[in-house]
Symmetry: C3
Subunit: 323 residues, 3 copies
Amino acid sequence: MAAIENLQLNAQGKLQHFLSIEGLDQSLLTEILDTAESFAEVSKQSVKKIPLLRGKTIVNLFFENSTRTRATFELAATRLSADILSMNIATSATSKGESLLDTIRNMEAMQVDMFVVRHSLSGAPHFIAQHVADHISVINAGDGQHEHPTQAMLDMFTIRQVKQQFAGLRVAIVGDILHSRVARSQIHALNILGAEEVRVIAPKTLLPTDVESLGVSVFNDLDNGLKNVDVIIMLRLQKERMNSALLPSESEYFKCFGLSDERLKIANSDAIVMHPGPINRGVEISSSVADGPQSVILQQVSNGIAVRMAVMSMAMRNNEGGE
Amino acid sequence: MAAIENLQLNAQGKLQHFLSIEGLDQSLLTEILDTAESFAEVSKQSVKKIPLLRGKTIVNLFFENSTRTRATFELAATRLSADILSMNIATSATSKGESLLDTIRNMEAMQVDMFVVRHSLSGAPHFIAQHVADHISVINAGDGQHEHPTQAMLDMFTIRQVKQQFAGLRVAIVGDILHSRVARSQIHALNILGAEEVRVIAPKTLLPTDVESLGVSVFNDLDNGLKNVDVIIMLRLQKERMNSALLPSESEYFKCFGLSDERLKIANSDAIVMHPGPINRGVEISSSVADGPQSVILQQVSNGIAVRMAVMSMAMRNNEGGE
Amino acid sequence: MAAIENLQLNAQGKLQHFLSIEGLDQSLLTEILDTAESFAEVSKQSVKKIPLLRGKTIVNLFFENSTRTRATFELAATRLSADILSMNIATSATSKGESLLDTIRNMEAMQVDMFVVRHSLSGAPHFIAQHVADHISVINAGDGQHEHPTQAMLDMFTIRQVKQQFAGLRVAIVGDILHSRVARSQIHALNILGAEEVRVIAPKTLLPTDVESLGVSVFNDLDNGLKNVDVIIMLRLQKERMNSALLPSESEYFKCFGLSDERLKIANSDAIVMHPGPINRGVEISSSVADGPQSVILQQVSNGIAVRMAVMSMAMRNNEGGE
């Protein structure tokens, strides 16, 4: 998918838009992680603010509601001193029949510098990036069942923080792979960064048909899948799937694919447990594991701010409007 | 309407409230345009911010939803470094039965400096300006079918940008004049600024009965009306009018009053095409005209920020709380 | 309630959380009032802003809608230069089934410094303060029918502003004591600050059964209750009570417990009239009294900003993250 690769990078090969993990290379992902490391300290200072993006206008275009992701992007932008305009698109001009493209053209005319886009349709951020002026960057904050690249990068940041490197790591992603944009981005990122093995563990009904082609080994049994793994990533089970034909009851699901203390013992003794949140306690993960010593779930949340600061500042530096 | 004129100006004859174009004179409108020119550069700088209104509190009182207008006022205030408090009045204290006046008195007691008011009732911003304390300015962001003065001034700014002066210009305003606060403000502004001729072009059902008294020539036929014009302002057709007895179908409307490439050729060859947005493509204007070389529609949007910065800073300077 | 007292104070006995008036002592309440006095000037300056909380992140966690209280907290935080993140919890992650505690843990991981909490359940802010990390402060912005301590402190500030001291003052609180968190906080504050007498005046159906135990004298007759009082605090009558069995009609209520000009004459001639707002004109208070010379209702609103600035800055200074 060369077109997408080109779309994300500017003429100098630098990150201008952050749309998908797919199409980026190891050095760029590593640059994001290294940059995020330099920002991690900002949120721990007494004055949690640096003037890097002062006077820049960042527009949150959330076509789909997401409190947590919106909050982390807003905090990241605030701590970089940018100005933020939050557009609730459901109640906006599009309800007056204005097309997405007209909305974008109009915001563009207001001399904004960046769109952070969340959309229920896969590819919406790509579409916007294709049509936007050169001096504007687009960040994908989750599009349909396609990708959620900042979530994947905060996961990578957290893994590197604990495990130092990706070489030699066995990572298991457990749950609803089929509908998960997070899983898709994580699989790409882990493979690009050189993890030893990426496993997906799920019932057959929650796996895409072509899943092996993403570069994963497939397990339909949790106990087998957890053997020798260093990192366990539990996915959130969307409750709305539950009433469909895809899944048995919640307690049945937990029995087969939920991470309990006993199950956790199957993995390597220093394995870490991750989850993108929000957690369904007792459905995909037990409370004792989620709150236990091997869990790095809240560390992921903290790292989300630093990683988003990194991506925003890199993209802003590399668009034509940047200094 | 001397009362309104006095209401907008402070004791020194300077703009304190910006409520309507009607009642202001040419020198004041020109002062707004000149001030806006000095602000147009701010949004093009790398750091889009000047500290002019730092520490001032501007309250967005939007009783009627409007994404785009709210966004431009918010960006204008942000780029002047003001603090903004956005009040969604539909879900606020007025739903607890508090009167508009009590809401205003309360906000006033919080030492705010400016209200930007959007209301479905004509005259609501005047009412607020009449009752508000001396150190507070009121800006009309659109009231009922009365006026939308900042929209008219950004249109004037755009016309002057392209045509340099108003003398000698023939301007046609096309569409639903009857329900348009934008048209009303534009007609006043064009006449005050000395345009040669202001035409309104509309079916009889969409014209006010006393429309000539506003100082316009009336055309019920688009082809006749467009002859020799320098500026064409297309109005947005409110879809909700469509189902009423006032109008035929959308395609019928476009056939009679829509601006197509062929129609555009009737006007002067250097005529510019304007629209307040959002556009109904294929209803009042064809896509090829809206996106064509004579269209200045997106330029209008950009100018909206500069004009609102001008009006806000002038009004703030001239209220008693200003420096 | 020693547990609550300890919860509000840090190891050095300083205010870290502001959850209830109950459990605080006179010197601490006086410190709040004195600190507020120093902030009252900020909102009167041309630049209404001091850099005291620059780079701090304050999260508005409003589980219950309240335009006015949210606005005053937001303005207070803005004038202290803090960054504010407003979380509309009704439409947020909790609707995805996330528990309150998980929401808090997640915000905490984002390195925020303060939660301002409004909740329909009594005790919710206490619960959050019990579970939150040491470097975070919690401010109660109204919880169920329990307390609304910042409202009570702005009332105390207003009383002290006019009457100089609490010794010797007779204060009457009139209306729906039973359901009022404001009344509960006021009664505690007045007793702690040494008012001569705190009276509650209400029909029996709107009084808690144990009301005397709060340290008040009880009147069921307005005329008797108003004799010799220096301060009259009218409570807002929640319209939703009106249709229940607790109350007769609005006009009947006004006849018995509404404050009219005639009734006001019963009190001391220099008595002041207070109301937390929003006012039901003609229900619990006549317009002529609300807008009359003895009313300090709008002064209360102004003081609300200064008092909230005081509480926020004190709590922030005393949490472990403070300087």
